[in-house]
């Protein structure tokens, strides 16, 4: 006879397992819905990343063109000297927002674009081309920060998606089939026990009848 270790083939156990399967199925459906929603969020973030990346490339190419002009006009040494004099601190506000229960970082910058006097280098010894190049890089930087934020969001949502997919698969291919297999085993075992009981009762009845016949005859 087929045996399953650790399972008591009783009606109570059968009811308990049936409840567990129903709960697992409900959880599986909900997780699948969550997975669908996460996929939608993920695709949307990827779309935004694509757009932001294109914009960043455009701005960076403009900025590099401006820098080339500046290098040609001012010279490499002077430009590098001005870049060393530039104030490098930037104030950002870091916070988190939730996308489908996933914590995603949010970076807010007050203003990246500064006026020439606020940049820190001397405006008397530098060309206006340096101001233009700085302004273009500052604009590009703002978009790069947005891109970093989006990429981190994609990573976080992707991780959650992977986790949810693993849970869905575990329920679909391991837990639910295993519970169903156990239910099948208990049902078979209970049927067998019922048949054994029926045969036993018949034999007892037969023995009792024989005893009655012997006593009468």
């Amino acid at each position: 006879m087929k045996t399953m270790s650790g399972v008591a083939p009783t009606r109570m156990e059968l009811l308990r397992l049936k409840k567990r399967v129903a709960l697992a199925r409900k959880g599986h459906e909900l997780l699948k819905e969550k997975m669908d929603a996460l996929v939608m969020e993920f695709v949307e973030i990827l779309r935004k990343i694509g757009r932001t990346k294109r914009r960043a490339f455009e701005l960076l190419s403009v900025a590099h063109r401006s820098l080339s002009k500046c290098l040609a006009s001012m010279g490499t040494v002077e430009t590098e000297q001005a870049s060393r004099e530039t104030r490098k601190e930037l104030q950002v506000d870091l916070s988190t927002r939730f996308v489908m229960g996933v914590s995603v970082p949010t970076v807010e910058i007050k203003s990246v674009e500064r006026d020439p006097l606020g940049r820190g280098y001397s405006v008397h010894t530098t060309s206006s081309l340096l101001d233009e190049a700085s302004r273009d890089f500052e604009r590009a930087f703002e978009v790069l920060v947005q891109l970093a934020e989006l990429e981190e969001a994609a990573r976080a949502v992707g991780r959650e998606l992977e986790k949810t997919k693993r849970r869905v698969n575990a329920l679909e291919y391991i837990l639910i089939p295993r519970l169903e297999e156990t239910i099948k085993f208990i049902v078979l075992r209970l049927d067998e026990m019922e048949r054994e009981n029926f045969v036993r009762m018949k034999r007892i009845k037969l023995m009792l009848e024989r005893r009655a016949e012997e006593a009468g005859g």
Binding site: K26, E29, E33, K34, A37, M40
Partner: protein, 84 residues
């Protein structure tokens, strides 16, 4: 928020409960969601270009519409999973 303010007359601003819940109910079937509340339905109908649904208390939307809604209102909508 500015977009939402444009959709509703000023008198209805206080009636709108935010975030708008996109209720994902397993009884509705996969990929189907529900939005409830008169003002909320009005707002969602506007963003999804659904005409003639302004007085309804409940609106059923489908996966592509959910994606559009989330794209248009990313911070003022929230998923709500119902398993009962």
């Amino acid at each position: 928020m500015r977009e939402l303010a444009k959709v509703l007359p000023e008198g209805e601003w206080k009636m709108l409960q935010l975030p708008i819940f996109i209720q994902v109910d397993r009884r509705l079937g996969r990929g189907t969601a529900r939005v409830t509340g008169k003002t909320e339905v009005k707002v969602v109908s506007h963003f999804l270009n659904k005409r003639g649904r302004n007085d309804e208390l409940e609106l059923i939307i489908y996966r592509p519409e959910v994606a559009v809604l989330r794209r248009k209102l990313p911070t003022t909508t929230q998923y709500l999973f119902l398993g009962a």
